[in-house]
Amino acid sequence: MNPRQILGQIGLWLSVLVIVSPAILFFLWMASLSLKFEIDNAAYPPVFFPEHIAWKNYADVFASNRFLTYFTNSLIVTGAATGLAMLVGVPAGYGIARMAAHKSAVVILIARITPGLSYLIPLFLLFQWLGLLGTLVPQIIIHLVVTVPIVIWIMIGYFETTPLELEEAALIDGATRWQVFRHVALPIAKPGLAVALILAVIFSWNNFVFGIVLAGRETRTLPVAVYNMISFDQLSWGPLAAAALIVTAPVLLLTVLAQRQIVAGLTAGAVKGG
């Protein structure tokens, strides 16, 4: 390497460092806040590495009697909303791609543009009328607003790129449409299924706006539970940061592990929920 190339390498690594540091420093600071006792969190100048690590903050969060309820609620809502979305959205993406019904994408676009709150007003009335408030059902249904368009959009993109020849041959050989879908199209589209599943899970897990309106005391999901903690104990930062980190940790882990799928999905459809 000549000096010019070495200089170029140093410049490149410096720019990489500058670019990723806001993300890294933020999440490190979040971890630091969550592992400090109040004395360290209230210190000025701020303490980055505490002398005593407050694992107790995490124990406190898990020990609070409702946290496990909220965690279960989040699992149920995200699980059901994603499962249902895959069940109806994957065949729909296939059908739309094969029919070349590109105009139907307009509905997805409208769903993408509409603010989440405007679905809430009519559906809130509907759920109230049906007597469903106080259960998790309203949240599962309304999370479909986020998950179904993501799944359909990503699956249209994938099925449009899978080869048609094999499917046509199977149809002529007497296979039903369903068999062709199940045994020919679906196995090829596995990477697309992974992308759709991951993004639907993340955006449903993160959703906040539906929960603050529809969730009662017993039916809160984790983001709503964390928000309610803010208003209650403003001044105990350690447990608050610990709770925030616990809520978002599954998503962060998934992001780093499945970054290739996430990047593929986001650049293909550039979708985001809510």
Partner: protein
């Protein structure tokens, strides 16, 4: 139904198979999703439009009031103010991520070790749970104990009140929004950079162009379509931004950071004025569509002038 299923085998046997065979209908695949979309997307829209023509408060009888809810909007100072907040918040939250995202994409387009892993780290802000990061930002904004004022003091700048001051609250929230959504712009532009052919760069190198010239006259024009898409997506998301604003300031201090979306929440679910809230929702949607149309128009104008310039 039964007549159809009984009749079909007969015709299939009578006619020549290659003439009779037609591609099957794919409607059955779409119908379940169609039902869901009708129930959770179309029905709410139709119902919202209907409600916006009614005086509809929870707990009192509804009456048809025609356009009264819409006529109330321009005379509602809180709504007018919210439109202003939304527009300034959106403008900043489109431009800043576009600038930083493009710079980041140029860097990520180079080859270096652990690029995939670092890209995963880089996109963490936009994937993380918004409420969770809002909570940490709230702590960082704290005027006495927050780490941001400490960082300012390190470079000799005076401490700020951040989200606790009406004049700095929107820029502070935009800081969070930019931190959160620059990665999305980066990803879209990175996709654009990957699609650029190498020939223009090779000839530029021969001509002795410097880094800035290459970026300005080759890279930038070629990634323009992607910047446009990124800008459009960013605009749609920034206008609708709710989680970060609501979790950090609830529209405060006072109503200094109350955007349309936050005001809509108050009207519909604090005052339970659902008719007026529905009118706000409809106007809000139309505003987003209008902004999108404006961007499309600007892009057309830009293409047109640049083509003229190229021909001259």
């Amino acid at each position: 139904m039964s007549a159809v299923t009984e009749a079909s085998p007969v015709t299939a046997q009578d006619a020549a198979p290659e003439r009779e065979w037609r591609p099957p209908s794919y409607w059955p695949f779409v119908i379940p999703a169609l039902v869901v979309v009708l129930a959770v997307i179309i029905f709410p829209w139709v119902f919202t439009i209907w409600m916006s023509f009614n005086e509809w408060k929870v707990g009192s009888p509804t009456t048809f009031v025609g356009l009264a809810n819409y006529l109330r909007l321009p005379t509602d100072p809180r709504f007018v103010e919210a439109v202003g907040h939304t527009l300034s918040y959106t403008a900043l939250s489109v431009v800043l991520p576009l600038v930083f995202g493009t710079l980041a994409a140029v860097v990520f387009h180079q080859k270096f070790a652990a690029r995939g892993f670092l890209r995963g780290i880089f996109i963490m802000p936009m994937m993380a749970t918004p409420v969770a990061i809002a909570l940490v930002w709230t702590m960082m904004f704290h005027p006495q104990l927050g780490v941001l004022n400490y960082l300012l003091s390190l470079v000799g700048l005076p401490p700020q009140l951040w989200v606790f001051n009406p004049t700095t609250v929107i820029p502070s929230l935009v800081l969070v929004e930019t931190w959160q959504w620059t990665p999305l712009v980066m990803l879209i532009v990175l996709g654009g950079l990957a699609a650029i052919p190498t020939e223009p760069y090779e000839s530029a190198q021969i001509d002795g162009a410097n880094f800035w010239q290459v970026f300005r006259f080759i890279t930038l024009p070629l990634i323009m379509p992607f910047l446009f898409i990124a800008g459009m997506i960013r605009m749609i998301d920034a206008v609708k931004s709710f989680d970060i604003i609501f979790a950090i300031t609830q529209g405060g201090p006072g109503s200094a950071s109350e955007t349309i979306n936050v005001y809509l929440y108050s009207v519909a679910f604090v005052y339970y004025d659902l008719g007026y809230g529905s009118a706000i929702a409809v106007v809000f949607f139309l505003l987003i569509v209008a902004l999108a149309a404006l961007l499309l128009y600007m892009r057309k104008r830009m293409l047109w002038t640049s083509e003229l310039g190229g021909g001259a």
